[in-house]
Symmetry: C3
Subunit: 69 residues, 3 copies
């Protein structure tokens, strides 16, 4: 009987571990998806920053023309 009780206790622990692990694995998968969202957002930042750099270079060119006329 003691052995059966121990066995039951171990089963319960295994069930709880399995449920906790399933929840953790799901949270990790959501974080993985969030990471891809961040990578996409960062690509937009890079594009926009490069666009701003280009505009500012164009403005320096305008300044040079204004100064030289």
């Amino acid at each position: 009987a003691q052995n059966a009780e121990d066995h039951f206790g171990q089963n319960q622990q295994i069930v709880v571990l399995g449920e906790t692990l399933a929840a953790t694995t799901q949270q990790v998968q959501q974080l993985q998806d969030s990471y891809y969202d961040i990578l996409n957002a960062n690509k937009v930042f890079v594009d926009e920053i490069m666009h701003l750099q280009k505009l500012i270079r164009a403005q320096f060119q305008v300044h040079n023309e204004l100064i030289n006329h």
Copy 2:
């Protein structure tokens, strides 16, 4: 006796799994918090990039006025 030893071995494995899972779950929670930090940082980037775009548009307006005078 063999059965009791097996039982003890399983108990040890369950304890190690539980500890490893607790450490992993904690690391996942920290990553979740870090993800929120990144989301907040990205909001600041978006605001600042939009502010720079607005300033650059204002400067093109200044250029137009300088050129037309």
Copy 3:
């Protein structure tokens, strides 16, 4: 015999839990590395945005000089 079968079943569950946990822990470690990559990318964004702010301030100075001459 029943007890030995139960024992075998539990062993299998423990093995599966261990393998799943190892895979999850590895994925968490990769996410941790990815998070450091994002932190480094964000430092570059901050530097570049501050550089753009500096350039735009310099251009407003040019404008003031052009307007006052």
